[in-house]
């Protein structure tokens, strides 16, 4: 990682971020936990709470096992309308390296399409990431999703 030039680092980070959203948008959610290290933190928190420094999160997973449980739950336990996501990523900014992790901020827009076929903006927000280099490549040690769209339309089941 240290040997990479800033341009190379930006390339590899972008690749990770793109593969992450493609995995979700293509509904390969069983692979989604693999983007994280084992003792990761994945937190989906509203901007309303984040701005106040309050902990209430829509999703709070502090292990890869909890991420896998979310996927098993949405496949087998939870009841919701079938839908697709389309993530639009932008403003990927590699802030630098801190305590061995690459700090990256980026914006997202998630469009949701229901079975009726209409597409709506489901969620807008930003990713606050700490990415580490592992034997398997870059992985998220920490991914905090701060969503602006804090009045959630009906329910949130597919990860952002």
């Amino acid at each position: 990682m240290a040997a990479l030039t800033p341009v190379e680092l930006h390339y590899h980070v972008n690749k990770l971020l793109s593969q992450y959203v493609e995995c979700i948008d293509d509904d390969r959610l069983e692979e989604w936990p693999d983007f994280f290290v084992e003792d990761c933190l994945y937190q989906v928190v509203s901007r309303e709470n984040a701005d106040r420094g309050l902990p209430t999160a829509a999703m709070y997973c502090d292990s890869r096992g909890m991420l896998a449980d979310r996927v098993v739950a949405l496949r087998h336990a939870n009841i919701y309308a079938r839908h697709y996501y389309r993530h639009i990523l932008s403003n990927v900014d590699v802030k630098g390296v801190q305590d061995g992790a690459i700090v990256v901020h980026s914006n997202y827009l998630v469009l949701q399409t229901l079975v009726e076929g209409d597409t709506k903006v489901f969620s807008a927000g930003k990713y606050l990431d700490r990415i580490v280099s592992t034997a398997d490549g870059l992985r998220f040690a920490r991914r905090v999703v701060v969503f602006d769209t804090y009045r959630i339309p009906n329910l949130l089941v597919t990860p952002l």
């Binding site: 709070y60 336990a77 959630i152 009906n154």
Partner: protein, 416 residues
Amino acid sequence: MNAIRDPALGHLAWPAAGGSRVPFGVFTDPAVYELEQQRLFRGESWSFVALEAEIPNSGDYKTTFVGDSPVVISRAEDGSLHAYVNRCAHRGAAICRELRGNVQNHLCVYHQWAYDLKGNLIGVPFRRGLNGQGGMPADFDMKQHGLQKLRVQALAGLVFATFSESVEPLEDYLGPMPRQAIERIMSRPIKVLGDQRQFVAGNWKLYAENTRDPYHASLLHLFHCTFGLYRSSQKGVSVMDAKHRHSMLTAMRGTDDGKLEDYQDTRTYNADFVLSDPSLLAGRQEFDDGVTLVILAVFPNLVVQQISNTLAVRQIIPRGVDKFELVWTQFGYADDDADMDLIRNKQGNLIGPAGLVSMEDGEAVEIVHRSIIRDQDKSSYIAMGGEQAKDAQHLVTEGSIIGFWEYYREIMGWAA
């Protein structure tokens, strides 16, 4: 039996007395919605509006709703609580445009009319005119032009407001059962952990039914059933206040182990479903009575919940006949240690719009609402546990839903 009609709603009839047959038009008719705002939300009821812990200091305020009327809840310099319609007495602009904040007084941005924290008008720019020109009429009396005030009262840290001059005091409106249930959860100082907001495309009363329904909880929610967070086979009760407007269901985890044969063929019991990380469900027993789940529904707009170690109030805000907003305010106790903070964070996965045991309720409301838009004279059929509004020392009942409808008919003037 003759159909029961309201003069204002002559086109819509209840097929029978009582609350076990509900005509679908009650959920879809805009005229019903308008009458509810008048007779119910602005009538003889107390609406939940805030936790005291949300507005602890002088000048703190929160904007929210009573029914669909925008209101401000404010704490004045002397510590007293106040509620007023969020609308300038001058030309009707919103006084407070943020969800919450702290101010010395409220200033309308349109023409800078100023109000104190109790809602009294204290300043009008150019009141005496400029250079001898303009100005308000000589008999203009600021005392006559304050914000429209509501009565406000708090109980055990929960704040309620009402437009009614005549509704009974809050303690009597709640009655002993809800009061004790609230005092049990609010037994020591709390800290607010945050809010979650959920927008559901359905009538608000479908959610009122849902939260009075111990029958659905283990059949709709696999997480509840499989992990024993709630099952109808557990020890629990479904009880109401004397007027049947409020209800509480409770359950005790671990009281039906080894007695699950009735669930073997249901979609929502799956013994093969195990968690890779069971820490999600690790917690602490917080209440000596052994009750691990409480859903207290307070008429018309509040749910107080304890599901394992998650504590929350849910405020129902009607947003039209076919949509409502649900605001979950989650809290813990002020003296929670770091381990308890983590337990509440993790169990937070269970509740709210992304909640593993609660997300389905929004979906249940929407699939009902989508299917009842025609045949408004047809009705639902509510009979589990008998067709009466009865308390039950078990959880195989819809008695509290029937109680809700009986009281709804009464307050709407739609009595049998």
